[in-house]
């Protein structure tokens, strides 16, 4: 689905070059298969946001090549409109980009621009709101600016979903959300498994990453520090420490309870599953 080959990026000299003349990204190579769920992690300043801006051509690599769905998007004079339909990026605080008067207008803006017929737009919006556990009729005429933080975030996600992208990229989607907002978002991303969408999740919240993805790509100083299964990543404390990360709380608890002899699988990454296991244990005792 997505392939990076030897991608390096530096800001052009003279612009921000005088602040950071080093490459922001250095020789990055990886492939992501359709339907994969990948967590992109690393300390602040490691290049995560810069990297995801390459996924749909918002930034162009200084050297190296990128393919999306078999097409090389780094070719000169490439029309990126098609690519941007296929790769949807939900940036941190996407609601800051709202500008329409009603939720419906806000969400239909993108597909309308693509010339999609009204009936089809309506259908897509219905579907997106269903996925997000939101009652469209309740929100349709409301101002997007007057929603709660969690609702705003979900409306922003809906406006990307209606473009029907194959790849969804979330940049710190939980930032600023309350418990209910995070719980709904977690459920939504988990349910995306039932589609064949490819998901890339950028987050500082290691428990959120551990629960939702299969594979972790860790950046450090603009380079790939680790690329592999989450089980391998979170089991390796020194790897985490080098990337200034800590193991997720769930991983620390599972480790500790296993040491005390509880028959828990080391592959348990969801706190809900751990609590369910303990509940069953209690019931059977």
């Amino acid at each position: 689905m997505i392939r990076f080959q030897d991608v390096s990026f530096r800001y052009s000299e003279g612009l921000e070059g005088f602040l950071s003349s080093e490459a922001v990204l250095q020789n990055i190579s990886f492939r992501i298969a359709p339907g994969e769920f990948v967590g992109l992690v690393g300390p602040s300043g490691s290049g995560k946001t810069t990297l995801i801006q390459h996924f749909n051509g918002l930034l162009k690599p200084t050297t190296g090549k990128i393919w999306v769905a078999g097409e090389e998007i780094t070719e000169k004079k490439k029309n990126l409109k098609e690519i941007r339909k296929r790769v949807g990026i939900i940036f941190q605080f996407p609601e800051l980009q709202f500008f329409e008067n009603t939720v419906f207008e806000e969400v239909s803006y993108g597909p309308q621009n693509l010339g999609i017929p009204a009936a089809e737009i309506e259908k897509r919006i219905q579907k997106a709101f269903e996925w997000l556990d939101m009652d469209l009729n309740r929100f349709r005429r409301r101002s997007p600016f007057r929603l709660s933080e969690g609702e705003k975030r979900r409306v922003a996600i809906a406006s990307v979903l209606v473009m029907e992208p194959d790849v969804l990229i979330f940049d710190e989607p939980t930032a600023g959300l309350d418990y209910t907002g995070v719980t709904l978002l977690r459920r939504f991303i988990r349910n995306l498994r039932r589609t064949n969408k490819t998901v890339v999740l950028v987050s500082h919240d290691m428990d959120f990453i551990a629960e939702l993805v299969d594979r972790v790509l860790c950046l450090k100083d603009g380079q790939v520090h680790f690329d592999g299964t989450k089980a391998d990543f979170f089991a390796n404390d020194s790897l985490l420490r080098e990337a200034k990360l800590r193991p997720p709380e769930i991983v620390r608890w599972v480790r500790r309870l296993r040491q005390q002899g509880l028959p828990l699988s080391a592959d348990l990454f969801s706190s809900e599953e751990l609590l369910q296991f303990l509940r069953n244990l209690k019931k059977n005792n």
Binding site: T180, R246, L275, K282
Partner: protein, 258 residues
Amino acid sequence: MIVVKNLAFSYSPESPFVFSELNLTLKEGEFVSFMGSNGSGKTTLARCLNGLNLPSRGEVWVDGLNSSNPAENMKIRARVGMVFQNPDNQIVSTTVEREVAFGLENLGIPHAEMQPIVEEKLRQFDLEKYRYRAPHTLSGGEKQLLALASVLAMKPRYVIFDEPTSLLDPLWRERILETVAELHKSGQITPILITQFPEETLQSDRLIVLNEGKIFLDDSPGKIFEKPEPLREAGVGIPLKFQIRSLLPDGYRWEGEA
């Protein structure tokens, strides 16, 4: 001591009351955390405590100063500092050094008195090396430290931290929280922490959960997290540790950090 008496507040005469009859006493030296879902009134209350929001009815008293009295209101703002979620919203100067001096200049402190305070704060927060840098070139965590240094330069008695870690990576999150705890332990400030992360409240003496503009729970965090039902009702999470504790069979250890 901060005393809130029968506080009612709405942003305009047409909009609904965020609080209608709120009473609260915060003691100096007591580390208090606030939790509550988005829209529960946490930030609105915080802005009432430092005089940015004025009561529609009722009173807010800070160490005997009334926030509704214009002359005393200015003193309250210097006495109750505020650190926000996004430091970009409070940083205004062109260099790190000037940023630390900014609040003092506003208070009309003479330059000769100001300079040693600025130096001390730059040193305390390890910002000397960035003295002449533009604040926007710092990382998110460094900017948050700068915001804190600038607030502390004004020697507030109380500092309200409004979700100060929600944009930071884990390491910076820990560092900021440790800094808050140290400032409390050394008696430099009385911290008031607003957060969405239940684990962050465990270091405080007292936790207040707001729900729909009312004080819903008010006790030590340990006591509050023992009972999950009311927290669920308020839309507030529980630290995993406490959830595990309630389910763990006898003979297994849950205390301390996993």
